[in-house]
């Protein structure tokens, strides 16, 4: 009996070895290493992007891969810890990663991106909206699949002014992280370019502040009331903030950020109305671009769940940008891939054409679908292409 078991085991092992032999005989795969948060507090933010990236990789592999080579993914969980991120990057590099994909946040992903660049490999963020995730903050081999956070603010300022006739704004900034400060900064810069637009008041709070009574009272006391309140924040604290504003009986329209996308927090503010924010693409199946809806549908089919929020699409875009660049460079050599990304005057993606320049590895112009929430229902009501030009110093928020 024992002998038979051993015999079967040996046969299976032999078969396994034979199988792996045939794999080796094929072209070496292109390896994308994800040094990213799969657990810990940040994981929820990366999860959708990783899944969408895997979806894009499946599609590419079904078409035969890049340059005739299949794409393989390997992972190193950074546990939402930056020091671990650097270690994770080293780990995937050691296992032969051709490119390292990092978190959708600059501060979280920078350590891993630095290690990748130091090793002479491409670091691609699956959606950091910070210009520093590029030449300025990492190195010449770092890219991100997002646009600068300032553009979100600019889009809302311009759209509100042009389409809604909003002139006066109350600016409420969540100071816990850099991203929200950048969005409000973008709103500020754009508002200055619009004749007659005015910021009538400013305030700050911190995500997670238990009470915003002081801020809400100051808004209530404004006479005349502002046309719109721009609140630069993110969930979960953002939901609580919006709730407190509405609970105080303030019916003024509210503008916010892409980070407030998703309907999971709407229970906190029953029947929320007059709430608008920009998105990269709609994950509710009503995006003006058929390609985006198609990806959302495939995502649902593969994972049996909707993308958690709009940032997931940036993971899909990151893979396609990298793949297109490798194809154009005809190589996975990081310098050639970077050159291909920089020289391109428009790589088509599901979110529209992307272009990078020698010193700007983030999008400086973007076409946002504008999402509205009325009676707790999401719907894309418009699309806005940002107009305000931002200098690199403005994107670094160092122009003041």
């Amino acid at each position: 009996m024992m002998k038979r078991v051993i015999g079967t085991f040996l046969a299976a092992a032999a078969a396994a070895i034979a199988l792996s032999g045939t794999v080796l005989a094929e072209e070496k795969p292109i390896v994308i290493g994800f040094a990213i948060a799969q657990s810990g507090w940040f994981a929820i933010n990366d999860d959708g992007g990783i899944k969408a990236a895997e979806l894009a990789i499946d599609e590419l592999n079904a078409k035969g891969g890049i340059l005739g080579r299949k794409i393989k993914t390997i992972y190193a969980d950074n546990k939402s810890d930056r020091a671990q991120g650097a270690k994770g990057a080293l780990e995937v590099l050691e296992k032969g990663a051709d490119a390292v994909f990092v978190d959708l946040d600059y501060d979280m992903g920078v350590a891993a991106a630095l290690e990748a660049n130091k090793a002479g490999k491409i670091a691609f963020s699956i959606g950091a909206e910070d210009v520093k995730m590029g030449v300025q903050g990492v190195g010449p081999l770092a890219f991100t699949s997002a646009m600068a956070a300032q553009l979100e603010g600019a889009a809302m300022a311009e759209w509100g002014y042009e389409k809604k006739g909003f002139k006066t704004t109350y600016l409420l900034t969540d100071t816990l992280i850099e991203y929200t400060k950048s969005v409000c900064n973008g709103y500020d810069v754009a508002a200055k370019t619009l004749a007659g637009a005015k910021i009538v008041g400013r305030d700050t709070f911190k995500n997670g502040d238990p009470s915003m009574v002081a801020q809400v009272t100051r808004i209530k006391n404004l006479d005349p009331a502002p046309d719109v309140i721009m609140i630069c924040t993110f969930t979960p604290g953002g939901g609580a903030a919006v709730r407190q504003i509405r609970a105080a009986g303030i019916k003024t329209p509210i503008f916010s950020t892409t980070a407030m996308d998703g309907n999971y927090w709407l229970d906190a503010v029953p029947n929320l109305s007059e709430f608008y924010y920009p998105v990269h693409g709609s994950d509710y199946g009503d995006d003006p671009r058929a390609a985006v809806n198609d990806v959302v549908k495939k995502y649902k089919a593969k994972y049996n769940a909707e993308p958690p929020f709009t940032h997931a699409l940036l993971g899909y875009v990151a893979v396609n940008l990298y793949a297109t660049a490798v194809e154009r460079a005809k190589s996975t050599d990081a310098k050639k891939v970077a050159a291909a990304l920089e020289s391109s005057d428009g790589i088509p993606t599901i979110l529209g054409p992307y272009s990078f320049s020698h010193d700007l590895h983030i999008q400086n112009k973007f076409s946002f679908p504008i999402m509205s929430v009325q009676d707790g229902k999401h719907a894309v009501i418009d699309t806005w292409v940002t107009k305000t030009p931002f200098t690199t110093n403005e994107l670094l928020r160092k122009a003041e």
Binding site: A13, A16, S20, Q38, S39, A76, D77, K79, D81, R82, A83, A86, K87, L90, E91, E94, Y106, D107, V110, A111, L114, K132, Q136, G137, V138, T175, L176, I177, E178, K181, L396, K398
Partner: protein
């Protein structure tokens, strides 16, 4: 001749604990250097930096018996002082425009920057310590935590000097395993010499019995302050080493997580002995690494067996619980590792060395 050999033995015996500890740590580092594995190297270097932190923490907590939740504030100060001195010469004026011109132009060599960072942390500790060490017991602990919260909030919002909540990039990668080892050795010996000195002994007496200590003429305030300042120096240095290790720093890296982790290391190792501090870092670092690897998966032939994600955090919690339930005095259990060795080398020292251990 006989006396010479005897005095060498006596000297070895007196310093047996730090020698054994440093020897063990050095062996691990040499092993790592030979293994030539980048990820392992980073793990070991990080653990060495934590030894500097935890031994620094031990100098105050272990000897005074007052638990500090706030030493991470000194680490933050050490790390930022380093960044002010030798970070990113090209972008410094962009990210930290309000720094004085001297610092904006400065490019202090990393070894000097590390020492200066420790000194600055010490000075800060000296000032806040004036108030904190007057408090007793839990009051002092809460006050240390308040200091940490104040430093954290100040650094997160002082945009023109600390770049606020954003990450500072471009600190030279100067900390390798040898540098970290050097500082770990310095910290271990400093802690040893301190705790066997008149000051250390006085503070230990006050830990065991405040009234008796006062009756014997020990100024608890002064002794605690001295320990607090020395302790802050090493924790500040660990911040500098960490900044030089990672190359990037941000305020939120110096808050609750690292405070609890280092405190856990000290508790698991054994709060009342230097060996406990070092062993605690080694044990917890090893445990974290093993659990992390098991989450990653071990290759068993063609099979990969992996533990579910989050095992590391749960495993760490369970280990601490087990420790607290079954071995409250930590792994080292209030003993110093070299104790037996020193008795063997110089039996006549037994009484006096026993005295220092039992305080």
């Amino acid at each position: 001749m006989m006396t010479d050999r005897f005095s060498i033995a006596k000297c070895l015996a007196r310093n047996a604990s730090p020698l054994v500890l440093c020897g063990a740590v050095a062996l691990i580092v040499i092993g790592t250097a030979l293994a030539n594995d980048a990820a392992l190297d980073r793990t070991v270097t990080e653990a060495l930096v934590r030894i500097v932190y935890v031994v620094g923490l031990y100098i105050f907590v272990g000897n005074s018996g007052v638990i500090s939740f706030g030493h991470t504030a000194f680490m933050a100060i050490g790390a930022y002082t380093t960044a002010w001195q030798d970070c990113c010469s090209t972008t410094k004026s962009l990210f930290m425009p309000a720094l004085p011109n001297v610092l904006l132009q400065a490019n202090v060599p990393p070894p000097l920057a590390t020492i200066v960072s420790g000194v600055v942390a010490s000075i800060f500790a000296g000032v806040v310590g004036l108030a904190i060490v007057r408090l007793s017991g839990i009051g002092a602990s809460i006050a240390t935590f308040a200091v940490l919260a104040i430093v954290n909030v100040t650094f997160s919002n002082w945009d023109s000097v600390t770049a606020g909540t954003s990450t500072l990039v471009g600190i030279p990668n100067y900390t390798d395993h040898w540098i970290a080892l050097l500082w770990a050795v310095i910290a271990i010996f400093a802690a040893h010499f301190y705790q066997t000195s008149r000051f250390g002994l006085s503070l230990r007496v006050s830990r065991e019995d405040e009234v008796a200590a006062k009756a014997s003429g020990v100024s608890i305030f002064r002794q605690r302050l001295i320990a607090f300042v020395i302790s802050a120096f090493f924790v500040g240095v660990s911040g500098a080493l960490y900044a030089h290790f990672l190359g990037t720093i941000s305020v939120d890296a110096f808050y609750i997580d690292i405070s609890l982790l280092t405190l856990a290391m000290l508790v698991v190792g054994g709060m009342n002995s230097l060996s406990g501090a070092v062993v605690g870092v080694a044990a917890i670092s090893l445990l974290i690494e093993v659990l992390r690897q098991s989450e990653h998966g071990f290759a068993l032939g063609s099979l990969t067996v992996s533990a579910p994600r989050g095992t590391q955090e749960i495993g760490l919690g369970v280990a601490m619980l087990v420790m607290l339930i079954f071995r409250r005095n930590g792994i080292a259990g209030n003993q110093e590792i070299g104790e037996r060795l020193s008795r063997f080398l110089a039996p006549q020292l037994q009484r006096s060395s026993k005295l220092t251990e039992d305080f």
